[in-house]
Symmetry: C2
Subunit: 306 residues, 2 copies
């Protein structure tokens, strides 16, 4: 009758609470739903009590479940802290993490992620390489950045790619637009529209790169830096935009504008963190990547981890 509780179980319980369901928790942990189900069953058998109510949404934990979550809350941060301390003892970690971004919306999740990172690695110089760069990988080679957030995986580059997440990009149209009631829009629907976008080159926009350019369609363009401004233009009938679903969810719920799927299968943007092989070794890099994935998964609605 030995305790077979392990840190793994505590992590599962926390993920379950944070993610709200076994399926989502499993994504967070890079495991299958089945694995978690088995794991929890073992624990419940061991303690002779259920740990959470399966039916209810939101998920509710039983008293023993809550007790284990409390335990996880004391234990897991302590473990994290200890492992970071050891990293410091072994290789005096005093590096830098200068991040280059090529997409505007990235800031929405990058800032919170950086805020979590900073106190965890106080001695790492954390920075954003200002401006939007068409070739962020170049910045890494020139040592002007340590990490770049990019939307394409290119195995041929001599850098490491760390998958982050995937999100759906939807067409944003005025509520009274004829497109608003369509089940999806295709490339041709953009032909006679003004595409409202961020002020970046074509090849940095997923909608151009993945949909319009391949179809040979080059709509009029109008650009602005701010997402709200783009939505204002759309709402007032000046054109159509293509934005991440998570970035506009709030406005959709308030029916400020309408969203339509792009193509029958939908259009998806992917994000990777890329850095030199050397940077990949740094303990804080792995921490940054996994922490970012986690915090994005928990805060951005409708994303999928890669």
């Amino acid at each position: 009758m030995q305790s077979l509780l392990e840190l793994r179980h505590l992590k599962t319980l926390q993920a379950l609470r944070d993610a709200g369901s076994l399926v989502r928790a499993a994504q967070l942990l890079n495991l299958t739903q089945s694995a978690l189900s088995h794991q929890l069953k073992v624990l419940e058998d061991q303690y002779g009590t259920p740990l959470f109510e399966r039916k209810s949404l939101p998920l509710r934990f039983t008293a023993p479940g809550e007790r284990l979550l409390t335990l996880a809350g004391q234990v897991l941060p302590a473990v994290d802290a200890a492992e970071r301390d050891i990293s410091r003892q072994v290789q005096g970690v005093t590096g830098s993490l200068r991040i280059a971004v090529e997409c505007h919306t990235c800031f929405d999740w990058l800032m919170p992620a950086m805020d979590i990172f900073r106190p965890r690695w106080p001695e790492v110089e954390l920075d954003i390489v200002s401006g939007f760069h068409a070739d962020p990988v170049g910045l890494i080679h020139q040592s002007r950045a340590d990490l770049a957030i990019v939307s394409e995986y290119d195995a041929s580059e001599s850098v490491d790619f760390h998958p982050l997440f995937q999100y759906e990009i939807v067409a944003i149209v005025a509520n009274d637009s004829p497109l608003a009631s369509r089940s999806f829009v295709a490339a041709q629907d953009f032909a006679d529209q003004t595409l409202i976008s961020y002020p970046v080159p074509d090849e940095m926009l997923d909608i151009m790169r993945q949909v319009l350019t391949p179809a040979g369609i080059k709509p009029a363009r109008r650009s602005t830096e701010l997402t709200v401004a783009m939505l204002q233009l759309v709402a007032s009938g000046r054109g159509i935009a293509a934005l991440p679903l998570w970035a506009v969810q709030n406005y959709l719920e308030r029916k400020y504008v309408s969203a339509v799927k792009i193509n029958a299968q939908g259009l998806f943007g992917k994000l990777y963190a890329t850095c030199s092989a050397e940077t990949s070794q740094r303990p804080y890099l792995a921490d940054f990547v996994s922490m970012t994935r986690e915090s994005c998964f928990l805060t951005l609605p409708g994303i999928t981890l890669l």
Copy 2:
């Protein structure tokens, strides 16, 4: 590069510190020395640093090793506490643990063990059934005791046995006795001696039961309640005693008396905790047994866990 640190590893590290060597730590954990060696190697590879110095005695930990020990010190008690809380939530634990002992020396380790137990299970009524009983198992059947400490394993009894530990029983003789220089003594050597013992029936003394009675030897007896008094009698040449090595270690180091092995293979006393099947289920019972084994192993010199 996920953290593969688990509670198991923290337990190993603590056992290593407490036991002072891999071999002893392995006994404490019911594992082989090899298992621990592999476990630690994995950790050291993971962190890229040794965790302790192998050569030095007493064992020394490196800074990262110490850091993990600190972590273990915060984490493991918290885990213990959480699991006890859950036991209470699941089955309101409000039982009793009345312990019957048949051997005098047992008190030496039983008291400290009880002192550790009490704060861990405040709601369990902890007691010693006073007096020495020839048939402690009977007390269990009569519900006059919940747990008995016995020295023989008898599978035919309708009670559960929980092995505790094994210790060597040595013959204690005066320093100037001719027996003192022998490499061991046998049954015949007791024939013309006075056996100094606790005031209990023959069948409760290992030396009688296992050595003298089988050989048909029945020496004169003289008895006293106190171990020191027995040693005093031996030292002044009044006879010979047979006592657990761990109980007399102090006196041997001060050369107050001499110890001699009994028979070529040595004489070993074994101890088991026995209780009803029902009592075995109680969560605090398992805790008492494992805690007792551990505390005895760490404090009594020269014992082996069963």
